[in-house]
């Protein structure tokens, strides 16, 4: 299945792009998706404890299973205002 991945702030800078589309095994969880990017960009590992995941524009647990067409992001601590 295909999911869309968005990157923001420091995560965007580390990954070097604002979005991606990736093929995953059916039923993969957000944490498995994150692991794929961490392998490609080891600098992400240090930031993992301060990231929150989102799925379809809602905060989601790292254990949430993904479905085809989902939109996922790994959000750094927010600093609007």
């Amino acid at each position: 299945m295909q999911v869309r991945v968005l990157f923001f702030g420091r995560v965007r800078e580390i990954v070097g792009r604002a979005e991606d589309s990736i093929e995953l095994a059916s039923g993969a969880r957000i944490e498995e998706l994150f692991a794929r990017y961490r392998e490609l960009h080891p600098a992400l590992a240090a930031y993992r404890p301060s990231l929150v995941a989102s799925r379809n524009q809602e905060f989601a647990p790292w254990t949430a299973p993904l479905a085809s067409g989902d939109e996922v992001a790994f959000l750094p601590p927010v600093s609007g205002g």
Partner: protein, 157 residues
């Protein structure tokens, strides 16, 4: 009270018209308008700031701002809400976020305005990068509330 349909929730890439927004929430039934104007200040963590850049997960940020607005109406006896955040490059002194809340009485207007900015800073996916003479850094942020480990059942959009 007038429904939230008149509320203004926006992300903009140009200067925020705070005067028009403060006026927009005001009706003859209101006795109070509280506003909060967050602006780019010239220092951060002891360093002189040159300018700021904001970016957002725009669709999710608007959804979260809308959620805050709905919560304001359910928690406080208020009338109108305007909540606008600016994105892109901001010079020192420019407004990054503006919130205005009207109500018949002062306490709900003030309480709601405060709840709105406190919640926005905790839950809305917007990020600020501070540019200094000797570099740039992402502002320390706040970790949004972690969802429970029960997967949400919201369908893909």
């Amino acid at each position: 009270m007038t429904p939230a349909a008149e509320d203004t929730i926006q992300l903009v890439h140009e200067p925020i018209d705070t005067v028009a927004l403060a006026a927009s929430v005001r009706a003859p039934e209101d006795g109070a308008v509280a506003t909060f104007d967050g602006c780019a200040r010239n220092h951060s963590r002891g360093r002189a700031t040159l300018y700021l850049e904001y970016e957002a997960y725009e669709a999710m940020a608007l959804a979260k701002m809308q959620e805050i607005c709905i919560e304001l109406h359910s928690r406080f006896a208020i009338h109108g809400v305007a909540m606008v955040h600016r994105l892109g490059r901001l010079e020192i002194g420019e407004t990054s976020v503006f919130i205005a809340v009207s109500a018949p009485h002062r306490a709900p207007a003030l309480d709601a305005c405060r709840f709105a900015i406190d919640t926005l800073k905790r839950t809305v996916p917007i990020w600020k990068k501070e540019y200094f003479a000797d570099g740039a850094d992402w502002a320390d942020g706040e970790l949004p509330p972690l969802p429970a480990e029960t997967p949400s059942r919201k369908a893909a959009s």
